[in-house]
Amino acid sequence: MSAYEAQMDELASRAEEESRFALSQWQLMWRKFVRSRTAIIGGAMILLFYVAALLADFLSPYGANQRFVQFLYAPPQALHVDLRQGVYIHALTRKVDQETLLTTYAPDPTQRIPVRLLVHGEPYKLAGLIPSDVHLFGIDGKDMGVFLFGTDRQGRDVLSRALIGGQMSLTIGLVGVALSLIIGSVLGVTSGYFGGQIDNIMQRLIEVIRSFPSIPLWMALTAALPQHWPPERVYFAITVILSLIGWTWLARQLRGKVLALREEEFVAAAQLAGASDAWVIFRHLIPAVLGHIIVVATLAMPSMILAESALSFLNLGLRPPLVSWGVLLQEAQNLESIRHYPWLLAPAAFIAAAVLAFNFFGDGLRDAADPYTQ
């Protein structure tokens, strides 16, 4: 290799390096993020969950409160595929055990009921706006249904309820995190920026709140919600209660970040240029810690979803007729239901999958939010 070539090589590699320097912080984060496979999978799963929540009424074969009185506690049905007939299910025949008086259902292989796409059924408003009665799949006739995850105590389709329940469970986390973000970032950044007495009071407040174990405190607060409140108000109150504790995490972390940033030159420069405190906080400090805020928000989602489902499961959170994953699991609360109707545990899988997705995604984001380490 000639000296000239070596020089060109070096120039090329330096140019490459500089182009990396020229990338903005967000571009660097993105580069690092897409390198993590689990984070991409997690992100895709989250997207899928929210799309499914948006389209839940269409995706689910039945309405959340549509009852099949002939089929209480029907077990999950298997889908069969036949090359000529397409997808079909077997009709269910009912049998009452004379000794235990339990009703059991058995598939009757002689009766095949075809499962069709885009059938008309229970009317609904898609995403609360577009009226429709088309469901992704279903069967003809009103007496029987296709119950892929079985039915519950009142003969309601568990799959439909789990899909529609996702709307509640996933949005309650989102709203709860949004509320804690607003409180936490404003208080955390202010506390770190001003320091002194304001910081002392804020830290004391956080310490007192954090001295309570979260679930018992949530239980005590939700138990105080009046029984006669309408479901919408209970829903909102619960998001507020969840974020009442949630903001403390964010505030603590941001305060630490801001304490360090406060000494940076760009803050001093802004102050010397005559910027007000509010301007420095909202134009300089919050954007500087934005990456961190997003990470903490993503990692806070699982705990919100879990908290809602735990509280609803204990009859202290959302209540019927609202449907959430936790509310659905109330049905599986006792030994007898688990013994005889184990499919009622199906919503648990939805909870676990959603939380897993957020954990994967958040973990990748956390690594990406700090793109300068390797």
Partner: protein
């Protein structure tokens, strides 16, 4: 060290005071009081209670006094070991809660031990076999563990008990064992009914701890004194266990304070799912019936337990890391 502990103890007093006020406010939040919820209960059962009797009872229990007076009476009693009177159970709160708090604490502590015993070796393995098949598998399992809440695992545990072994795993003892006189078999039965819930409680913590242990050990293994130790010709086992792990374990001690709240919360919920006599079931009942002294004492003692745990974690950290003491 003594000044460090004393300073932390003194710092706890105002917090404790504020926590007790907040607890009392929260417990008083529901509209009405124990009498209205009692009347509602009786009415739904067909019988009733007239307004006059309710007021007499209110007066007798001091429910008609102003907030501050009720609070001071309640808190004042704590110094005499009197935590108030349970209106529903008609017994002193103290008799009701001590055993339950004890079990919650025992369960949390067993769970803490289980967590460390499992998570530390896994973390060491993961760090020394970084990116191997085993490490990746354990990482995945760890994520799964983080995603399964205690009450779900509790339900799965119940289901396994029924379908796998045909037994009910609820409660503290197997059927018929509760009344049996103490024997080795009964002790074994009790241990069997405690260790699994403790493991379930610890699953989330194990996942956290092993991640932290892995990361921390990887950091330490990259340091120069480890290279020096290797260059001196020490065995890899000695380098890892005596040089690296000793230092890498510090962050685990500092998260202990964070994990305690999770354990206490978890023990409360799991107690309800598995009908263990922890604080969970009775606390829920007390909240619903507005049995305020009982509910309040539970909440206060759980907070106290948490604060004491944090204090112990801080002391442990100061003990193993002298830099903290001097701060």
């Amino acid at each position: 060290m003594i000044t460090f502990v004393a300073r932390r103890l003194l710092g706890m007093i105002p917090t404790l005071f504020l926590v007790s006020i907040l607890t009392f406010i929260i417990i008083q939040l529901p509209p009405g009081d124990f009498m209205t919820s009692l009347a509602a209960n009786l009415a739904s059962g067909g019988s009733g209670i007239d307004e006059g009797t309710m007021n007499v009872l209110r007066h007798q229990y001091g429910l008609d006094q102003p907030f501050a007076v009720q609070y001071l009476k309640w808190v004042g009693g704590f110094f005499r070991g009197d935590f108030g009177y349970s209106l529903e159970w008609r017994r002193p709160v103290r008799d009701l809660i001590l055993g339950r708090l004890g079990l919650t604490m025992a369960l949390s502590l067993i769970s803490l031990v289980v967590m460390w015993v499992i998570a530390v070796p896994i973390g060491i393995y993961s760090a020394t076999h970084q990116y191997s098949l085993g490490d990746n598998l354990l990482t995945l399992l760890g994520f799964l563990g983080l995603s399964l809440p205690d009450f779900l695992l509790g339900l799965v545990y119940l289901a396994i008990g029924i379908f796998g072994f045909g037994v009910s795993v609820m409660g503290l003892y197997s059927q018929g064992m509760e009344e049996a006189p103490w024997s080795a078999a009964k002790a074994l039965d009790l241990a069997n009914h405690l260790i699994w819930p403790a493991l379930i409680l610890g699953v989330g913590g194990i996942a956290q701890l092993m991640r932290i242990m892995r990361g921390s050990l990887l950091d330490v293994l990259g340091q120069q004194y480890i290279t020096t130790a290797r260059a001196k010709g020490l065995k890899e086992r000695v380098v890892v266990n005596k040089y690296a792990v000793r230092v890498a374990i510090n962050p685990l001690v500092s998260v202990m304070g964070m994990q305690l709240p999770q354990l206490i919360s978890g023990a409360t919920v799991l107690g309800i799912v598995l009908s263990l006599p922890t604080t969970g079931p009775m606390f829920t009942r007390a909240l619903q019936s507005q049995d305020m002294y009982l509910a309040g004492s539970f909440l206060l003692f759980l907070s106290l337990m948490l604060m004491a745990g944090n204090l112990l974690a801080d002391i442990a950290l100061a003990w193993i890391d002298p830099r903290i003491r001097l701060e």
